[in-house]
Symmetry: C2
Subunit: 193 residues, 2 copies
């Protein structure tokens, strides 16, 4: 099984008009994605943001829930928040994983848009089970990962689809659903479809 | 197919010690769950909160994204936020659905805890497709729906499980995963498991 990490990318991502921008850290992104990562057995969660001024925001959240007032009241949040790392860039997250695992991770991108060579969740699920190299799953904030990030990925997952044409899930919801599709257990095996 | 609604319940829910409490409305709960509900084709999303002072919070969010400054910048949020309704109680949400659909809804509860007679997602998925009555899916804030709500439900879904023992997903993540398990399309059919 591939030791799997996720990264929430604040740069380079697109804005509404398709320009590359840097987005800001959102408090609940740190919490929600840490809790989903912990539930589905990920080895770490990187908040990828190049702006130095944003790092204390994340570090303050980590500190509050690791050593501060949060520990006694919500011990399960301490456990989840222990997965969170700050990285200045995707490259820095890759270097961190290489340092921990001894090998560079396979990069798996996500997108709300269709494109050529998108892989299915079933394929990636099988791949993760066969793979010994680590994997880094990348999620974009704003209007999604820049095309140059997707091009640099080893694989890009198909968009999450419901029965409607609406494809504007929050990134927190998209991460939760993606992890459930890749790592969800038990109930999945009852699914007759 | 059953016209399906969801309700985010702020009362009666449990706190950490198992006492019944009322929780407060969280801005991102309104947005994230509206976007997930819209993606998976729900007919409406009830924010269930008995405290009058909390209603303007939700109404202000609805107004901002329906007619205010939000419409031009984020038209897709307007579409999602159109599903949101405020209800004082679960009973009021039921009455609202009965008024719209002509029949009272089947109540389906959710819980992060196991219990007797939990149904699988596969069973509920099949049921929703066979059912003509409307369905109301209930999600608890805080530490989950009060046992008396679960007892009043026609069915309660099994807890969402990953490969770990950690069962502290955010309610936003739990709603997203539940809707994907019940209404997710296409990719699901590729799943070999």
């Amino acid at each position: 099984m591939s030791p799997t990490y996720c990264g929430l990318v604040h740069y380079p991502v697109l804005d509404r008009s398709g320009d590359e921008v840097t987005t800001s850290v959102t408090n609940l992104d740190v919490h929600d994605i840490a809790r989903s990562s912990r539930t589905y057995g990920l080895c770490g969660y990187f908040v990828v943001n190049p702006i130095d001024a944003q790092h204390p925001v994340v570090e303050k959240i980590i500190e509050h829930w690791s050593t501060g007032a949060g520990v006694k009241r919500f011990p399960e949040r301490t456990e989840a928040i222990g997965l969170v790392r700050v990285a200045r860039s995707i490259e820095q997250a890759i270097a961190d994983i290489r340092h921990r695992e001894g090998t560079s991770p396979r990069l798996v991108g996500t997108s709300a848009r269709n494109g050529v060579d998108r892989i299915s969740y079933a394929e990636e699920r099988a791949r993760l089970r066969a793979e010994t190299r680590p994997t880094l799953l990348l999620f974009g904030t704003g209007h999604g990962l820049s095309p140059r990030v997707l091009q640099a990925c080893d694989a890009v997952l198909a968009p999450i689809e419901g029965p409607t044409e609406f494809n504007h899930l929050s990134v927190r919801a998209a991460v939760a659903i993606t992890l459930d599709r890749l790592f969800g257990t038990k109930e999945r095996s009852n699914n007759p479809i």
